[in-house]
Amino acid sequence: MTDPETARRALMARKFIEAIPYARVLGMDVVDIGDGRAVIGMNYDTRLVGDPETGVIHGGAVSALMDTCGGAAVMSHPAAPGGTATLDLRIDYMRPAKPGDRITATAECYHMTRSVAFVRATAVDGDPSRPVATATGAFTIEGGKR
C-alpha cells in the first residue's frame, strides 16, 4: 500500500470499524484492510458460546464477524464514497469452530455498482484449510449517486 489515497482510506476504515461498539464488545480486531478486502479476527470468549455442551461459539457471533468484515471490505473499496449498510447476508455453516480457537474472517468486495456492493467472505479457525463458514452479501452504498 504505497498509494497515499489507498492508505488513507484503509486507515479511515480501520478507525471506523474499531469504533463500532458491538465490534468492540465482541473483541474484533482488524488484521488487514484495503482495496476492497478486509481481514478481521475475533478471539474465543466463553460469553459467546451457543451450546455449553460443546463450547462452540454461537452462529450469531460468527454472523456479526462476517457482517462487520463485509462492511469493512466495502468501505475500503477504491470506488466506495463512504458508509455502507447490509442489505442481506447469507451464511453457510460448514462445521463447528473449534472451542478455544480464534476465528478470522476474510471478506472481499468483488463487485460494485453505483448503489450496491457484492461481497463474499470466509471464516476459519486454527485450521485454515477447512473453513468454518462462508458468507455472501449485498451492501448499500451510502452517499453515492443513484
Binding site: Y22, A23, L26, T46, G60, A61, A64, D92
Partner: protein, 163 residues
C-alpha cells in the same frame, strides 16, 4: 376419571422448561435476550443496550446483533417445539427435559430497515420440520408489528432423538 392438572402446575412446568432452555445458552445472556411465552407461542425480546450499536452516527443496531437475535429465536423455536411435544405427551416427569440444540446449516438475513436504538422483538415460524432437517422463518420488529426491520430464513440440522 383422572382429574385435570391444576393450571399452576402446568404453567410452572412449562416456564421451568423454557427457563432451563434459555439459561443454557451463554450468548443469549450476553445479548440480554429474554423469551416471553403465551401458551406455546414464544416472543423473543432484545432490550436495547449501547453495546449493541453498529453505527454510532445514526445510531443503529449492528447487523450482527440483528442476525444473532433472529438466529437465536429460530433455534429457540425449534428446541421449544421438541420440548413442548415431550411435555404434552408426558414423556417427561416434573424435571425439565434435556435436549440437544439444532445446528444451523445456513441462515439468510434480509435487512429491511435500520434497527433503531429501541427494544426489538422476534417471532419464528417453523415452515417444515423433518426428522433431520428443518426450515424456519423469523420476523423482527420494533415499535410496529407490521413494520419489520429484518426477517430471516434458515435451515437447521435436527439433533438425533433418544431411541
Amino acid at each position: 376419571m383422572k382429574r385435570p392438572e391444576p393450571v399452576q402446575v402446568i404453567k410452572q412446568r412449562r416456564d421451568a422448561a423454557l427457563q432451563k432452555l434459555v439459561a443454557g445458552v451463554p450468548y443469549m445472556q450476553f445479548l440480554g435476550i429474554q423469551i416471553d411465552r403465551r401458551g406455546d407461542e414464544l416472543t423473543a425480546i432484545l432490550p436495547f443496550d449501547d453495546k449493541l450499536i453498529g453505527n454510532p452516527m445514526l445510531p443503529a443496531l449492528h447487523g450482527g446483533v440483528t442476525a444473532a437475535f433472529l438466529e437465536v429465536m429460530a433455534i429457540m423455536e425449534l428446541s421449544w417445539a421438541m420440548i413442548w411435544e415431550d411435555m404434552e405427551s408426558g414423556r417427561v416427569s416434573d424435571d425439565a427435559p434435556r435436549i440437544h440444540l439444532p445446528k444451523t446449516i445456513d441462515f439468510t438475513v434480509d435487512y429491511l430497515r435500520s434497527g433503531l436504538p429501541r427494544d426489538a422483538y422476534a417471532r419464528a415460524r417453523i415452515n417444515r420440520s423433518g426428522r433431520r432437517y428443518a426450515s424456519v422463518h423469523v420476523e423482527a420488529w420494533q415499535d410496529n408489528r407490521a413494520r419489520l426491520f429484518a426477517q430471516a430464513t434458515g435451515h437447521f440440522l435436527m439433533p438425533g432423538r433418544d431411541g
